[in-house]
Amino acid sequence: MTRAGLTRAAWFPALLGLCLAAALTFLTLPVVAIFVNSSPGQLIDSLGEPGALDALWLSLRTTAASIAIILLVGTPAAYLLATRSFRGKAVAVTLIELPLVLPPAVAGIALLAAVGPSGILGGTIEALGIELSLTTASVVVALTFVASPFYVRQAMAAFTAVDRTLLEASRTLGVSEALGFLRVMIPVALPGLAAGTALALGRALGEFGATLMFAGSFRGITQTVPLAIYDRFSTDFDSALALSAVLVAVSAAILLSVKLVRGGEALGSAPR
């Protein structure tokens, strides 16, 4: 605080405090309301309903599958972007980040136009014998599309922040780049990679619009938890609340684990 600020009336700090209080109330109240409106007993009862369990199980399976794909393809891709410079790199990074800011409805339409049955690759996919319409696989595609940028961005930042001399040292010891990537880069960047995984996990679990438009809604096949919440909104508000409460709990757990992982590392740099 400046000398002038100390002598003047304390209106500015008061304004800051007021804004923080408003932000906290606005952001917390709806989440708290979910739990106020559903007693723990109700919550458990609603979850005992078979449709709710199917939705939870499907959400877990599809999210796990999409995270596996994101890790397998995204990690090497992020490593490449973080360790090499090439023409068009900035464009590549921007394109990868684009789904981050796309509205879910646009993601749904875009996926239909690209890999839907009448999409530009629809015929090819059908010829390959892959069923990508209204199937669980189509849910995984939608989740992967919307969630992967969260991981790749974070992974790039994590790899960029690794001390390059570590890799060079392993190189001078005769270790191949592939082995260096596996044995040196990944372990050192692990906290950042874990944080990216958690962010992607949260986004995938919450995906709604693209899934509904691209994959449809069928219990146990394509109806993930957010779709089940929407389906229950008009008929069974209590059950919708209970499923929402579960998502809040899972999301909070994810956020908390990110904070814990982040707490133990020094990776604060923003992705380039």
Binding site: L112, G116, P117, S118, G122, S133, L134, L212, M213, A215, G216, S217, F218, R219, I221, T222, Q223, Y230, D231, F233, S234, T235, F237
Partner: protein, 242 residues
Amino acid sequence: MVLLGTCAVGCGSDDPHRLVVSAASSMTVTLEACAPKFGDAENADVKLSFAGSDELAAQIRQGAKVDAYAAANTKLPDELYADGLLTKPVEFATNEFVLAVPEDSDIQSVADLTKEGTVLVVGSESVPIGAYTRETLAKLPPAQEKAILANVRSNEPDVKGIVGKLTQGAADAGFVYVTDVNAASGDLKAIHLPKELEPQVAYAAGVVKKAEQPDLGGKFVDGLTQGDCADALGDAGFGPAP
């Protein structure tokens, strides 16, 4: 807050009144065409909100600021009326429940839907189109009903979802209203159901009890049976009220 403030000062008789109408998805094209005419005639700024009738009813139950509600059935408005949330519903139109298939489809009747591998997309149980679908299928021999239900691959939250899946080639067939097929600009064709299967599809509307513009809402509901909107409904393929 700001809006209310300006209104308190400057809402003269010349400023249009804001009328919020919640209407079933199946009336989207029709009402969007006729509502501006109603607005001009009544000096109103008509805001239309389209979704599944059940969702709109749920929004009204949750206290949404809506003046008039037009549903794709009579059950939902009747329930709101019974709970004191809506004025006595008026039936204003009928629609025909049909089987919709892509223009080039080989499917010719409901019986063809039993074929394994047929991808059928229907409305979710809570939305009128889904309720009509289940009501209709229940009239079939149990084995046939079971085989058809086994081909359902998505329960969509409203008619738009069904039509979208059909026009995008994601589904082979779906149950919708004939007006949706008319609105799909030639991409789909309607297969009419035998009379004994066809459900009675009557649309009903009412004024929301907590409406900010009850008079205007009442006029809009009246306009659905007589006037520009009634004509537009007729042009779109809706039948007259039963």
